[in-house]
Symmetry: C2
Subunit: 377 residues, 2 copies
């Protein structure tokens, strides 16, 4: 028999699902946006994922549809589900990933810790929220933001004049959130099967630069057992409460008094979980495939005491990082180099490096050192 | 830039090279024997590897040619090398893998420990060898044998009557070897770059059943440091002495007094090294790609104190092992399941399972237990 997974989106997340699919003998097919995508090796269809007819054609070739990204329109997914297609995570979960206002409302119902928030339709409402929250707010477009895009720090409504004028582009509302005075950012990954089984990885610390993840430290340094448990419980409550299947990443702020506040959700393998390819018995990519196929989940135990992942963000249009292999591999024989087959572009997520080991300082230094050689070109 | 590797042969070894190639962003292309091969996902050409014109066409699309198996005729490789194609391992090394008589002669020149052996052209020569070696010999066809095929235990020349009559089919000679009274079988893997860098994994114990590898224990239990060093030195001497590039597996017998005797060589990733996918910082498949591209080798440190690999050999024409995933994955969440996308057939190498950990008993029991669930279908 075969277990057939269809992935919509041909980015690096789809690419990194191909590796465990090959290992386990699962049949993976990718619906890519264009030729030459990161996951081109498994692409069986190239097309427009907003067109139901195209996605339907793809769905006929697989047992379950899952995603490299969260941008497939809900109406497309709902139509397929009505026709009996297994979509994982299902549209009823993805609607919370696609609209941050829906997400905040649902997390509030679940009683989960979050920044104060409000739906904003007018400048007056925004000014009132800012006044109630210490003179500053984080304003977000409810749909379409990622990697720092669609997010602004505002101290008065006029800071957001452009968005308020065009508010109908965002469905008529913006999301205002309290600016949390955090000491660091964390992420908790969990996987959930349609039949309910859950498995979580250790809490990680994410280091952001210009709104983009630059490093991930595993486990989150100096987290207490109580914090590790609390973070896992939060993520499991989100997964159960929103009906997420596959991998869910819950990004959180930690405040000086050790509290967690949910920042963002991602319903797919996530940059904060790339460490698990080498650092965990079961990687987030293998687990995602198991979960969406409703196969039993694998152990999320760590393979080493510490893992560090450093992103390789494009520096210019020339440095593809692969060119650095002769130097970088020689200097860092324990580092695991990943590149995504993308052409070079400033700021683009081009690859990452993971180092695992028992000494957290060495692991961090090696991961950063290896990245540094690559960045020099 | 891109590093482009061409693999001749579409079996599971090529398939398992695709995974690290994707991870590292190396461009891998496979020349497969037929459609629907194990490595079909990376197949860019399907044809006959004994035809120089077809292999030449393939070679034009890559920077280096390497192999899933050792069966490409030497004249094909020599012709390509003469045209400037990088073939790794080169024909001058592969000739020793393709002809066991040449291999024995060269290993003898290198002074390496081996069973007594002789080239046999007649029944009289065979009877004389048997008489000199305790009344028994292992008789091998010098070319084409694998997994127990092309090997016979003979106590008199008449036991080999068929081979002796057809001796011209084997190039006019057979290879007789002393039957070593061994206590166990071992394998030592090493990788070598064209520029000379070497890296070896820990010595492993292989358990054979009916001439086929069934289990691999890593490291070889109770091996002394002196033995580990000696095994590595033997493999490195072979790699250097035969000019091997890429991964080399040296299969050896261990006798009761702790001596090693070289049994077989394989100049490619080998079944005895599958454990390294999870058990080592750098797997044999990633290392093979690095080595044939003359890129710096990765660390061969172990990720855990113990690894055990168990092969999944076909039991009949129905059990594809994948069907067992719902049961097997649930029962053994720490086991890593590999299947090769092959249709079921009795005795066929269909997949393998690896478990790593710190407790050798648990690791062995889990690997065998997981395989047992799969074998039950």
């Amino acid at each position: 028999m075969t277990f057939r997974v269809g992935v919509i989106g041909g980015g690096q997340l789809a690419r990194m699902m191909v590796e465990p699919a090959l290992a386990m003998g699962l049949d993976i097919k990718v619906f890519a946006e264009n030729e030459g995508s990161s996951a081109a090796i498994a692409a069986t269809q190239v097309g427009d994922y907003t067109k139901i007819s195209e996605v339907r054609e793809f769905a006929k070739t697989v047992d379950v549809i899952t995603f490299d990204h969260e941008h497939v329109p809900l109406n497309v997914l709902e139509a397929l589900e009505a026709e009996g297609v297994s979509v994982q995570p299902p549209s009823k979960a993805l609607k919370f990933a696609q609209n941050k206002l829906h997400m905040r409302a649902r997390l509030t119902e679940l009683g989960l810790p979050m920044p104060a928030w409000a739906e904003i339709k007018t400048a007056d409402e925004l000014n009132a929220f800012i006044a109630e929250n210490g003179g500053v707010a984080i304003l977000k477009t409810p749909i379409g933001g990622y990697d720092g895009k669609g997010v602004a720090v505002v101290r008065q409504a006029s800071d957001a004049a452009q968005w308020l004028v065009n508010i109908s582009d965002f469905g008529g509302s913006l999301l205002a959130e309290q600016k949390v005075d955090f000491v660091r950012e964390l992420a908790q990954l969990v996987a959930r099967r349609p039949s309910g089984e859950l498995a979580h990885w250790p809490l990680v610390q994410t280091v952001q630069r210009d709104g983009v993840c630059s490093e991930v430290l595993v486990p989150a340094p100096n987290a207490s057992q109580e914090q590790l448990n609390r973070a896992a419980a939060i993520a499991e409550t989100v997964a159960n409460g929103l009906g997420v299947t596959g991998v869910l990443a819950v990004e959180m702020f930690e405040t000086a008094d050790g509290q967690f506040f949910i920042n963002e959700l991602a319903m797919r393998p996530h940059n904060s979980g790339h460490f698990s390819i080498e650092g965990s018995v079961t990687s987030q990519f293998e687990q995602h495939l198991r979960a969406v196929l409703d196969l039993p989940l694998g152990s999320t135990d760590s393979v080493a005491a510490h893992s560090v992942m450093v992103n390789l963000l494009g520096v210019d249009d020339l440095n593809d990082f692969v060119s650095s292999y002769p130097k970088a591999l020689a200097a860092y024989p324990s580092a695991k180099f990943h590149t995504y087959g993308k052409s070079a572009r400033k700021g683009r997520k081009m690859g990452h490096i993971t180092v695992i080991g028992n000494n957290p300082e060495t692991v961090l230094a090696d991961a950063k050192g290896a990245a540094s050689v690559c960045l020099q070109g």
